[in-house]
Symmetry: C2
């Protein structure tokens, strides 16, 4: 259609074109999404009687990922860390928004980033319903929405004295990969690559989180290291705990390293995105069944106790003293 | 409470302390918010039968605000631009999440920023339910949630041929203030300060948006300039429009400037955060009543037409040719 001669001309390449070109999601159609990208707001009809779970995470270049990070894997990771928060509550993914600050609209980067992002979104039937793009230092902020029945959320404040403590999957390989990049240790290239896979493309434990509804008491996802994150459960549940230090499941690559490094990186690694959860002793068989049903390894690593604080025990039940701290964005340079 | 001798020590000042200290909201309690800040996800019980409206906006230092912007006003503005999106759909604010990338945890800045943010949140009974903080270049990403009855949203694609076009409040003072900062024009300090108030502390037109449910057909908020934003309504509604150029309501300071500047900044300013909406001619009295009820000026500025494109007319109905473009983040250096 041609414009009349006195019409105003709009710019040809725009933020809207960028969204349409790279972030249109063709394989997910959800009747709950009444209106997606393109208006002032998205419109969502929540499932009647269900509760919404909402989480937001911001990833900054040079802080959460290397400035030259592979764009496909970065797209995956940005959504994965958000889905991991839904998993930790036992919520089923529904939708997400994406806000993106980019130094430039690089078509190659955008193509790969959006492919990595949308592949994971599609796998979890999670609709991209809105967003914002702007020029600026690379920064990716995703807000994710899930649903769950009221009263079924796996909260941090629900651990009970006597509960077993469990972790999903394996810990420490992401931190090991980082140690390799930082030259803290030497890793063979193949081993480094294998560990790096866990760092760059974490698996959100959605299926396990859903299977743990009604089975686990408390849960969270391990993003800043097990001891720091377990500390949040202890603080909010007003309990203590002991961990069987050498029963912690080390990642495939980390498990080939010396004892000291295994202990350090399983306890205080970071970027694991595994679930740490507590469940009554009477639910051990149900926890194992939940692991099987979701094809996710689960390992019992300790127990919740009345005495405050976190005790680390060796295989003989003897206390182990370690100098460790969890990752914190404002106390870490 | 003292820790047992073999306990792990957690860092004393953390991201969690930061959130607790500055972003605890004491004056809003909403029974729909089942769980707020502090877990993997917030939990929300939507009002049965209501639809959710969701929007996200990212504000970047040096792009959307000056690096030395007053922190109180910046806190206000970040939430205001998001609430403005809810207003444009006719949704009532409920809650929001905040993701914040900060170069440092400066207590003075955080105190003022959070005060500005929470003052506006309190005024709209909007609960801060979750967030993320990280170290990095200053970047503020808010995702906002509102509610509205299904079918009542003021969408961009709902303009009808014959509709009047209206705008709320007044346009162009924010752009005028920017012209002052950039030394494009000379403004007296008092006038500059008055215009800058509109730039730094826009008023989200929530009450008007609610009053326009069932009255207006299409609506959006004017953030990138009237012609560009009205263009979105025209494109999505597959219609054209004419605007009475000199009936556009100029801001108090801009109205004292020359005709050319008034036309330019009312048409293609930016940062106005006023509503542009269309309504049937038969609803003129209702629109005026909605303006009165919400104490918001409303001005009729044009009409929706079948012929595609946007025509600018002077007081004599004669076409006016202007070279203007709307602000776009990736076509603007």
């Amino acid at each position: 259609m041609t414009s009349p001669p006195h019409s105003v001309q709009y710019p040809m390449l725009s933020e809207f074109d960028l969204i349409k070109r790279y972030f249109a999601q063709h394989s997910v159609t959800d009747p709950r999404i009444a209106l997606g990208i393109g208006d002032d707001c998205a419109l969502v009809n929540p499932t009647p009687g269900m509760q919404l779970a909402i989480s937001t995470d911001m990833l900054v270049s040079g802080r959460h990922f290397f400035p030259d990070a592979d764009a496909f894997m970065l797209g995956h990771k940005c959504l994965a860390v958000n889905l991991s928060d839904l998993a930790a509550m036992g919520a089923a993914p529904m939708a997400f928004t994406l806000a993106l600050s980019l130094p430039e609209a690089n078509p190659d980067w955008l193509e790969k980033f959006s492919q990595g992002l949308l592949a994971l979104a599609d796998a979890h039937q999670c609709s991209l319903i809105g967003g914002d793009t702007t020029k600026g230092p690379l920064n990716i902020c995703i807000t994710v929405f899930g649903e769950l029945p009221p009263g079924s959320a796996l909260r941090r404040d629900a651990a009970q004295v006597g509960d077993d403590i469990w972790v999903s999957g394996a810990l420490g390989d992401a931190r090991l990969a980082l140690a390799g990049y930082w030259k803290e240790i030497h890793l063979e290239p193949a081993a480094h690559q294998q560990a790096a896979q866990r760092m760059h493309q974490p698996t959100p434990r959605i299926a396990l989180g859903l299977a743990l509804r009604g089975v686990a008491n408390a849960a969270l996802d391990i993003s800043d290291g097990l001891i720091g994150d377990l500390g949040h459960i202890l603080e909010r549940s007003k309990v203590g705990a002991s961990l069987q230090l050498d029963s912690l499941p080390a990642g495939l690559v980390l498990s080939q390293q010396a004892l000291e490094l295994r202990r350090k990186f399983t306890l205080a690694g970071g970027d694991d995105y595994e679930l740490c959860f507590t469940a009554p002793v009477a639910h051990r068989a149900k926890v194992i069944a939940a692991g099987s049903a979701s094809a996710t390894p689960v390992t019992r690593v300790g127990c919740i106790e009345q005495a405050p604080g976190l005790r680390l025990l060796d295989d003989f039940g003897q206390p182990v003293q370690l100098q460790l701290s969890s990752f914190d964005h404002f106390s870490t340079p």
